[in-house]
Amino acid sequence: MKNLRLKSARAAKDMSQEDLAKACGVTRQTINAIEKGDYNPTINLCIAICRVLDKTLDELFWED
């Protein structure tokens, strides 16, 4: 399932996938895969993404 909230949060911070990837220490393709719903990140990566985007885990990754 696509993670549109992650994409919106990233866009709100005016960050490209590449910028977010570098900030989290992963590849751009990993961020792309998470946004597309092709990959479920580990909790550590989820936390790292939340920290960079100033969001909580619920806001970005909890299923509605």
């Binding site: 590849t27 393709q29 990993t30």
Partner: protein
Amino acid sequence: MGAGMEDTGMKQNNTGRIIAMIVLTIAFIALVFGFACSPKNTRKTEVNANVIVENGEATYPGFRGEFNIARAGKYDIHVNWWPEDDPGFISGFVLYDLDGSILSFCTGQKVQAGFLPIQLEKAEYSFEIKIFDSEDKLNEFLNDCGEDYASDGDVFTGYRDGQWHVTYTITASLATKWMLFILAIGCVMYAVLMALIIFRMCHEGKPEYDERQKLVNGKAYEYGFYTMLVLSVIYVLAWFMGIADEFLSPGVAVMLITLIVAAVVGIYNVLNDGYIAVNAYEERVIATLSAILAVNILATIGGIRTGSLIKDGKLGISSVNAFCGLLMLALIVAIVIRKARTKKEDDDEELEA
């Protein structure tokens, strides 16, 4: 270390890798030159003859011997007989092929000669030392060898009675000039490549893959493992049926299976973005692959030149270089395809934005 890269608690020591690579490089170069300088590459035979010519007839019946060629290849044959006193007869040297036909020969009162490189197999080759105490006997021999000596006009006139001690030396050495040249280039390129890789490891650190890439790597190795199983079973079945031996030796088969498995692992990794580490530079990876491709192209050309690419309808050891080059090419093509796909994704993302 980014959060996307998990600390498994099993940090790899880069120093150990570097030492291992240096040791491997030294061992490779030593092996290559050990092969080039191996005593197996040269065979030398000496025949000491006491030749007495009495009333125009030589008492020495000649000599027939063998030398064992331990390694197939092109050999330089050198023959030498140079007695102090000019003998009153002509000596002849004949090298026979495995079917008994004459491979090469030479005659002379005193001789220091080398033949053009001759392809010899791993076998015992016989040679003969002949003594000619008259022009008729020499002519007969030369006619048998297919030479029209009578029309040459260069007739030996020194036939006489006497006693002479002659040492005949026959040396067969693997024609290593081109081989050494190619091996030297190969060693230099290998050493340079290793130096570049070690330099990169020292300055960039060990390659680090994020969590998704590690999963992709694992999947790639899984596919590689199954590929190896299938290919091994196919080869063993073909070997039992006697088909495999017609096309390739076991050594070449093992290398080919390894390269195909490496291709499966590599291409899967590339296409799923698991090949290039987070801290790696893609351009350098492509440059390294291109350099290895170039080395293997040169080695393949060398193999074609020396006839070791395909020998008697079988894939020779140089075919491994050809397949290794194909592997590098396949990886480079896969990287290009992935780059094109990534660019398309970037364009789509811009459009959506």
